[in-house]
């Protein structure tokens, strides 16, 4: 039977199909079966059908091991048939021989690659790829047949010591850290560094002073996230400076928290701050207290306290979600002076609308250095600014290159999640 035969009339087409499937049924009996029958579990050669070729097997790069990538060239299906998919067969190497081949994966048509993520690094394997052909039989039922490739070379998997897809991030981190460390060393050497004024941080003394004059409390809200969030760390860092000022002015600072670990940390920070300015006696264990882990329960608790106690000043420093506006608007309604800082871009507009001062994103992280005025900390800010300047320069270069179609500059900055 010649499948390449050019058939011009419908009669001949039908006749050719009948002949083709008769061939399949007679010669490939075990492989040809009706749709209702189970999918084949036994795989044998089927030479008349084109098998996949160029079977390439390789250890999957940039991974933790336990994975082999199999690639193949898709065969051209004979006339009247279609490729339904592929089975991937794997056999363990026993000495220099291959053991029993078993199906370890399946892909649909159009695929020419499969990742076998179920291998052991210490073992060697052989692979074969079987293509599943399907066609409509004489009785109108779909029939399937398989054609197997040859055996691949022996392959084994291994874990890699570097993920080369992240080399751009690595280079970026090295450069940025280098700039920061360089400016820290310059600052330590006594070089004077200019840091622009941040209105929200300049207002900390004023805000605490206002509470002192009014004889009212200061509230410090360190966000709703735990200590594994850098924003919370930045928030409690600012808490230390605020507590020092509050202790100096002898103004009561209350810190309601929503996480137990933040409670422990914040309590320690406030206690240390009071001791630092020589007022350990003014510290009360209960001024840092836990409310609840629940987002809206926390918001409700603070709103209640704000409305009842009417603090003069409220700080919101840390990571906030939907509760940000509920808290800030309640504070605004009682006329408290409010200073907020967060690196949650979606919450910034709410704080800007409802608070007197807002530390936008990076300013929250700069706050500790700004308030402490320690050269080492200020140096890190300078290094950060150099990183920002380089990114701005890259954006301009990238816009020009991509606008004029010179080079896909953005491809350098692709980051793998």
């Amino acid at each position: 039977m010649n499948l390449q035969l050019v058939i011009r009339s419908r009669l001949f087409v039908g006749l050719a199909q009948v002949c083709f499937f008769l061939f399949l049924l007679v010669n490939l009996g075990p492989l040809a079966f009706a749709q209702d029958e189970p999918v084949p579990t036994q795989l044998v050669d089927s030479t008349p059908l084109n098998p996949p070729t160029n079977i390439e097997v390789a250890d999957t790069p940039n991974d933790a091991g336990g994975s082999i990538t199999i690639r193949w060239t898709e065969p051209i299906p004979p006339e009247g048939t279609a490729i339904k998919g592929y089975y991937i067969l794997r056999a363990e190497a026993v000495g220099n021989e291959q053991g029993q081949f078993d199906v370890v994966g399946e892909t649909s048509t159009g695929s020419s690659e499969l990742l076998d993520g179920n291998v052991v690094d210490t073992l060697n394997y052989y692979y074969r790829v079987a293509v599943i052909y399907s066609a409509t039989g004489v009785n109108g039922l779909e029939v399937e047949a398989l054609a197997e490739s040859g055996i691949s070379r022996m392959v084994s998997s291994s874990a890699q010591w570097f993920d080369w897809r992240r080399i751009n991030v690595f280079v970026g981190v090295i450069f940025l850290c280098g700039f920061i460390l360089y400016y820290i060393s310059r600052a330590k050497a006594g070089k004077k560094l200019f840091i622009r004024k941040i209105a929200g941080l300049e207002a900390v003394d004023e805000a605490v002073g206002r509470a002192t004059e009014m004889g009212k409390k200061i509230y410090f809200i360190p966000g709703t996230q735990d200590m594994d969030n850098v924003q919370t760390i930045a928030g409690v860092t600012i808490l230390g400076r605020v507590a020092e000022v509050a202790a100096t002015y002898d103004t009561y600072l209350e810190v309601p928290v929503s996480r137990s670990l933040v409670l422990v940390t914040a309590k320690e920070i406030v206690k240390e701050a009071y001791s630092k300015v020589g007022r350990p006696d003014a510290f009360h264990e209960d001024q840092v207290h836990y409310l609840t882990d629940d987002q809206f329960g926390y918001a409700a608790g603070i709103d209640g306290m704000v409305v009842r106690e009417k603090p003069a000043t409220i700080f919101f420093m840390g990571a906030f979600y939907a509760e940000s506006l509920i808290l800030a608007e309640t504070g605004n309604s009682i006329g408290a002076i409010q200073i907020a800082g967060t690196a949650m871009p979606s919450q910034l507009p709410f704080f800007v609308a409802a608070c007197d001062y807002t530390l936008i994103g990076e300013e929250l992280f700069a706050a500790s250095a700004y308030l402490a005025r320690e050269p080492k900390l200020l140096g890190s800010l300078k290094g950060q600014d150099v990183g920002k300047a380089i990114i701005l320069f890259s954006i301009v270069i990238g816009v020009l290159l991509e606008t004029f179609g010179v080079w896909r500059f953005s491809s350098l900055f692709g980051v793998l999640d």
Binding site: T237, E268, A322
Partner: protein
């Protein structure tokens, strides 16, 4: 030692965490999972610190008959009821039909939803203040907000039907959200990312110590 040990742990863990992003090989491939598990375990034990602190503060308020001590009673009773029922119902306390799930569904959830719903009113009052055209910036904000709001409701396109399709309010709103808004947001996010790296580096190197309770 009180400072040095936490600083050492922070430094080592920080460096290992940075390395695990670039090294897929074991043990770095497992570090994230291990530390997440440890954090969850420490957090689970620490929850009692918070719970006991809450009970202590509330109990002291009630005993001392301090202002608003009635709320403290509500906290204590609610806490005891939820914990007692949770423990009484064993491992299946979260299954459908348990008393705990009933309390969760018919008491906790509506209360939470109520708080969330307040946001709608707060958004209105905050927008009113933010959109007052006091200066050029506020006027631009007002105009952008006005166009976005109109573009997000069907009446926006109805009243701008006479304009070319690309200039109708829904399209203008989409344009503002896609281009100027995204550009502004990305600028902020670049700053945040750099700030994160800088802060993390300060903490890892032990330059930033305020979160450990002081700068010494």
């Amino acid at each position: 030692m009180r400072r040095e040990v936490p600083l050492l742990i922070t430094g080592i863990v920080g460096v290992v965490f940075v390395l695990q992003y670039f090294i897929p090989h074991w043990p770095f491939s497992q570090v994230n999972t291990w530390f997440s598990d440890w954090f969850s375990i420490v957090g689970a034990f620490a929850i009692w610190l918070g719970a006991l602190n809450l009970l202590k503060i509330s109990a002291l308020k009630v005993i001392g008959k301090k202002s608003d001590w009635g709320y403290a009673i509500v906290i204590i009773i609610s806490f005891i009821i939820m914990v007692a029922i949770g423990f009484a119902e064993g491992k299946e306390f979260r299954e459908q039909g348990t008393m705990f799930s009933w309390l969760y569904e018919y008491v906790y959830s509506p209360l939470s939803a109520t708080m969330f719903a307040l946001l709608a009113f707060f958004v209105a009052s905050a927008s009113y203040r933010a959109f007052r055209a006091r200066n050029l910036d506020a006027t631009l904000l007002l105009m952008a907000g006005f166009l976005i709001m109109l573009g997000r409701v069907p009446v926006g396109d109805s009243i701008s039907f006479f304009l070319p399709e690309n200039y109708q309010f829904s399209q203008v709103a989409s344009w503002i959200m896609t281009w100027p808004q995204t550009a502004g947001q990305r600028a902020i996010m670049i700053g945040i990312a750099l700030g994160l790296v800088s802060t993390s580096l300060r903490i890892i190197l032990g330059i930033e110590r305020a979160h450990l309770g002081g700068g010494d």
